[in-house]
Amino acid sequence: MLVSLKNVSQYVSLEGLTPEDIANKLTFAGVEVEEIVKLASGTNLVIGEVKECVAHPNSDHLHVLKVDLGPKYGVTQIVCGAPNARAGLKVIVARVGAKLPQIEIKDGVIRGEASHGMCCSLLELGVDAKYLSDYQKAGIEELPSDAPVGEEDVLGYLGLDDVVLNLSVLANRPDLLSIFNVAREIGALYNRKVTLPKVELKEDFKTKLVVGSATNRCSQFSAKEIRGIVTKASPKWMSEYLMAMGVRSINNIVDIGNYVMLMTGQPLHMYDADKLAEAKLTAQDDYEGDFVALDEKTYKVIKGDIVIACKNKPMCLGGVMGSLACAVDENTKNIYIESASFDGASIRHTSNRLGLSSESSQRFVKGTNHFQSEYVLNYAAKLINELCDAKENSNNIVYQGEEHKEKIIKSSVKRINDRLGTEFKESEIVDVLTRLNFEVKDTKDGFEVKVPDYRLDVTCDADLSEEVIRLLGLEHVKSILPCLDTKVGMLSLKQQRLKNIRHYLLSQGLDECLTYSLVSKKKQNDFNLLHNEEHYVILNPLTDEREVFRTHILASLLGAASYNVARQNKNLALFETSNMISKQSRSEHLAIVLVGQDIRQGQLVKENYNFFHMKGLVEGLFTILGIEPTRYRFERFVDANHELHPGKAANIIFQNKKIGVLGELHPNQIDKYDLGKTNAVVLEMDVEALLDAKVSETKMSPISKFPSVSRDLAFVLDANIAAGDIVRAVKKVGGSYVINCEVFDIYQGANIAEGKKSMAISVTYRKDDATLTEKEVSDAEEKIKFELSRNFKAEIRS
């Protein structure tokens, strides 16, 4: 909302206040001033008349002017490059020493000719180019022939000596979309008297017009008829004012409509009375069909849109746009002015659907004062009488669909202070409320406040406390730490475990990433590793890159990897945890991407990341959560979609459910993500079950005092038998003496038959309560050999 201070000062004195003071005061009271704009600026300006204009002897486009600056400064010589410079022109002269927005004027000699000042265009005084014609922009400003030569208040003469505040009006204060209410606000803030125009109008005739509403979406409909208007250009003050407000001046009638809306906050609509089929206008919301609007375009009106109809034909799309059929034009003689109250939600739907948002529709959407129409109509009529040579005014006709109820709020000094944590006196509180035009009446247990009609936002005593504090100042609030029950502030077990997972991975050197939750359909479909849950799709996405709420992190994290690889960051260890949500469930996920060489290495020894790096991270993760290796297992991952390397990938099974997948990325995916000639190992894991897992307390187990014995065993067996199965079998048959079994060599190739492999294991034996005898070890070893031969068809070599 743009507010001209010159305009506001007609209604409340701003004497002694700088624009900065006012902006600051408003901002702290909750009415943020985004910008303070000077329409134009410049010092040492004077109006001059060009007495003589000759071509500059040393230039093909410059002129040498003799300019009369009036009796005080006399005639001076100025070199000027403007194409429209000519003798007899009245011009704006910036004298030597003048400070303009962009430059400072100095005495000078231009190509041999002395120049004691500059003739200015409005552009050079800082006027926004959008308000200027191309002719104005190309040359110096041409003042009217009656401009007073020697006048030094040039900005005042031009009506450009104004400062405009740009208010950011928040949704609770639609009343401030009115200059009158801004004046009231400033009056309340500074405790100054506010005088708004009094409008008394002679009623010349009774109108035949009948207005009404067939819908509760139009709760109030008032109108007035005015006869004998003349449509023409607005006077200078009006067009200048609208320019300062960022509104284009059209003609006197349109301009008055806009002007009254800016002043009162009430949008108006004008009908050409002679173009209506009958003198009856009805608001209704059940019209369906085409509507040809003022902009000569045809819009589809549907049920629910508010139209003002005459003989069931829409004459106006209420609050949004008028029809071409009854538009005011240069031949219009008699008009009806409409001042109505429309339901904001309906206007919002209609204007959003048709893409017709305007200053008017915005005011209805945000909320208008339903009880000021007669004042507004009279105010508009008065201006029309003055500026449109109108002859006769009718009475006001009013349809009022809702009762005017006074808004009374009960409160007390104590209630207000309790909410604010302040100790304001009753007199202070009453004073503030009175300044804001709230009528305060004492009652037995406090006071009653009558809220002015325009303050739509004030409905309960919490609102009153806000009025008090924003006027008296939030600096009165004392800082008091709340005295609450002592509680141990700590994370829940689940939150702590997630934090532990993150910190474990960080300590392993992995970088913690943050990627967007919204992804493209394509990226979402790149991986389907975990579950077949349905993802959410955004109804109104900004781009198809951000259309789907992802159900896995992996594609996003690979995107980050791809970004880095393209920037020569080739060795990567990245992870991210994020909450995934699908139509079926919500759970915490972890994804890891390892690319290139192990970052945990020296400069001279390098190793590419492989499956086992990732597996080790997963095992470590279970360890720090206290989940024993016996509680989870890895199963071969069967890949139908070319997501992972078919031979180098595994499912993670926990509590008999697949909770994660890890593996080396399929070469096709490496290409798809532009990872170059590299290897990548990835993990996607739903860690929810881990965060919830029951874990037993750690109890110390005694360390055996007796020595252990290690025996190696080598054998040949089918190549497809998994080492893990061998180790599990050894531990099982070896009995309690076997405390460890490790595979230390696997060999396939020369001397080993096709389809076979040689495996060597080291088995460690120990007894907890005595030293093992040679026989005990040998017996256990025999059992192991027997098991390997029988169940794994192993051929023992040693």
Binding site: F28, G30, L170, A171, N172, R173, A345, R348, G367, D418, R419, G421, C460, A462, S465, E466, I469, L474, E475, V477, K478, S479, I480, L481, P482, L484, D485, V488, G489, M490, L491, Q495, L505, L506, Q508, G509, D511, E512, C513, L514, T515, Y516, S517, L518, Y536, I538, L539, N540, P541, A560, Y563, N564, R567, L572, L574, F575, N579, I599, G602, Q603
Partner: protein, 345 residues
């Protein structure tokens, strides 16, 4: 004569020991002089052939020579072994200027640094951490927060919709409503960190995805003074003890009164500079007293309970604290950026 022979033998041995310059050559000397086939051994075996009166003194002389040679060899052996070890070690010299094998921790997106730190601050004040879904019901995101359908405040927050009733939460405030629902009228002291979404085009200062930490305290007798003190403590912990806060009146549909909280600019200390656009203050969060309607709708009697709520942008805190010039950097994951944030606090 025999003694003279012994003396020569000893001198010859000592000379050879002195000359030996490796463990191998010293072992050869030992073999020559002390083995069973050595002259010393043969002299020893000849003792019996000497006249009895000479045997004793000759035996003593023999022993003396053997001890002398043995001792000399041992000493020389120790010396040589040490020398050879030193020579071997000297050859093993490494280039200590090469970097260490990496045990560096990973870098963190500063988003997490800030989020973790803010959580710590509020945990220290006895807050619990609550959470809620990012795909949220209209009911919790808007309606129960005093933003009914068609409320103009909905236009303040451009929303990604899933359907008429579901949307991506535009703020973490729905967790207020969810927590009140869960606590069924009992006092509340929670924060809720989480991702939020608005239908904004991404640029240097806007992001369609961002994150907030919501705070909510409900109890008997809570007023704005409590809000101010709590946020003052937070601001000082987050941005340093010298930071002061100030409150400005503002508007949020779910709080009344509503305030914006500014801190004095760390860069200029409040004098006004580029960072604070000349105002001396930087806006850090929005807050207010929970609106009586919100309390009522969520099962709390506003005559009995009052509360305050606040919402802090995590991204915004990160941008301010680290001087990040483009919010998109938080979501790009360039490892050269991430690795700048390794310091543990």
């Amino acid at each position: 004569m025999e003694n003279e022979k012994l003396l020569n033998l000893k001198n010859a041995a000592l000379k050879e020991i002195g000359d030996a310059n490796s463990v191998d050559s010293l072992n050869a000397v030992r073999n020559t002089y002390l083995s069973k086939k050595s002259e010393l051994s043969s002299l020893t075996s000849q003792i019996g052939q000497l006249p009895p009166e000479e045997r004793k003194s000759f035996g003593a002389a023999l022993t003396e020579v053997r001890v002398a040679i043995t001792t000399a060899i041992e000493e020389k052996m120790t010396y040589l072994k040490n020398k050879e070890l030193e020579e071997k070690l000297a050859k093993e010299q490494i280039d200590i200027s090469l970097p260490g094998i990496s045990y560096e921790p990973g870098g963190r997106d500063p988003f997490y640094v800030i989020q973790d730190e803010m959580i710590e601050i509020f945990l220290g004040m006895g807050f619990e951490v609550a959470d809620g879904p990012e795909v949220e019901k209209d009911l919790y995101n808007f309606e129960l927060l005093n933003i009914p359908k068609d409320h103009p405040a909905r236009d303040m927050q451009d929303t990604f919709y899933i359907n008429d009733n579901e949307l991506l939460r535009t703020h973490t405030s729905p967790v207020q409503a969810r927590t009140m629902e869960a606590k069924k009228g009992a006092p509340i002291r929670i924060i809720c960190p989480g991702k939020t979404y608005r239908r904004d085009d991404d640029d240097a200062t806007h992001s369609h995805q961002f994150a907030q930490i919501e705070g909510l305290v409900i109890d008997k007798g809570i007023n704005i003074g409590h809000l101010k003190a709590t946020l003052e403590l937070f601001a000082k912990k987050m941005f340093g003890e010298k930071r002061e806060i100030r409150l400005r009146s503002s508007y949020f549909p779910f709080t009344e009164p509503s305030v914006e909280v500014d801190i004095n600019c760390a860069n200029c200390g409040g004098k006004g500079c580029n960072m604070c656009k000349g105002t001396g203050y930087i806006e850090i969060l929005g807050a207010g007293m929970v609106h009586p309607n919100v309390l009522k709708m969520n099962g709390y009697d506003p005559e009995e309970y009052s509360g305050f709520a606040f919402g802090v942008g995590i991204d915004r805190m990160a941008v301010l604290r680290y001087g990040i010039d483009d919010i998109r950097k938080l979501y790009t994951n360039d490892v050269r950026f991430l690795k700048q944030f390794k310091k543990m606090s």
